[in-house]
């Protein structure tokens, strides 16, 4: 019902991008992804476990004709590692899209901005479609946008924290300064957080733990799908103005009885 998400010339009906990690089991993952309505699913790139050939392959659980895979560079702490990971992902999954993460700290998983910018530059020069995970810094977002990233993906709160949109003001500023798609990546913990992100003008939300770590991931996935649509509709509908004082919705004229001013 609301307008579609367009990133790098590709159109998505859903504005939710879902991560595939930390689900209780692959079956729940599959059903949650389906319930979420997402069309894009993130995956990580890791060494195969040579000692455990029977280990499950995530591609067995995500139908690539139905879902667009977005590999990430999670776990990389340098531009060099992130770039190599992105190239391996391109080879393994035959996609030049990459969710670029260059982490600066293991405890907060906040990005390392200079390394992120360096990696983005190199990947863009190598024809990647780069979707960078970054902090909610308007200057960094503008640099990433200016250099040609397909989207900017500031965090709402630390990855996996579920703390929601900690600084809506920064997101609002970023929205006003940036023309490429704005995806809130990380921090969303519940449905209203996702709606809030959309009402701030985000084009989409990337989430994982909020769904996979809910008590009932499939129910939450459905809730998130609706929350993102709701928030987008509210953004498109244009909310009522705020007032500190009340404004009667029922009309005043024709009340029976006495008013306090009589």
């Amino acid at each position: 019902m609301s307008s579609k998400l367009n990133i790098a010339g590709r159109t998505f009906n859903s504005r939710l991008i879902i991560g595939s990690a930390r689900f209780p089991n692959p079956d729940t993952m599959g059903r949650a992804i389906e319930a979420s309505g997402a069309e894009m699913v993130t995956v990580a790139i890791r060494r195969v476990d040579l000692k455990n050939r029977d280990r499950e392959n995530i591609l067995n659980y995500i139908n690539r004709e139905e879902y667009f895979l977005l590999p990430n560079t999670a776990g990389c702490f340098t531009a060099k590692d992130a770039v190599l990971t992105a190239k391996l992902a391109r080879e393994a999954l035959e996609t030049n899209w990459i969710k670029l993460e260059v982490i600066g700290d293991v405890e907060t998983l906040f990005p390392d901005i200079p390394e992120l910018l360096k990696a983005a530059e190199q990947l863009l020069a190598d024809d990647f479609t780069v979707l960078p995970y970054c902090n909610d810094d308007p200057v960094t977002c503008r640099k990433l946008s200016d250099m040609g990233c397909a989207a900017v993906m500031p965090l709402g709160a630390p990855i996996g924290s579920g703390m929601g949109i900690r600084n809506p003001y920064n997101l609002q500023i970023i929205r006003e300064q940036i023309d490429v798609p704005l995806i809130v990546d990380a921090g969303v913990g519940t449905a209203s957080d996702a709606a809030r992100a959309m009402e701030l003008g985000a084009d989409g939300v990337l989430m994982n733990s909020a769904i996979s770590q809910a008590k009932h991931p499939v129910l939450m996935a459905k809730g998130m799908k609706l929350a993102i649509e709701a928030g987008r509709l509210a953004w498109e509908a244009g909310r009522m103005p705020r007032r500190l004082y009340a404004k009667a919705s029922s009309p005043i004229e024709g009340v029976i009885g006495t008013s306090p001013d009589d």
Partner: protein, 68 residues
Amino acid sequence: MKFIVNGEEHTFESGMTVQDLLDSLDYPTQNGGLAVAVNDEVVAQQQWPSCKLSGNDRVEIIHATQGG
């Protein structure tokens, strides 16, 4: 000849290609989804049969897994 495969040392006969390595590891490659880098350079799948490995090469064999 020694290689570092996914961070661990393995000893193989010399003159091996990437494809030989994968075969000898008995890791299933037919489903696709794998990628290989040698010394931080990606080796495209078409080149696996021709790409010869040298001693102390660092080989990375990766695939997609769950991630957020």
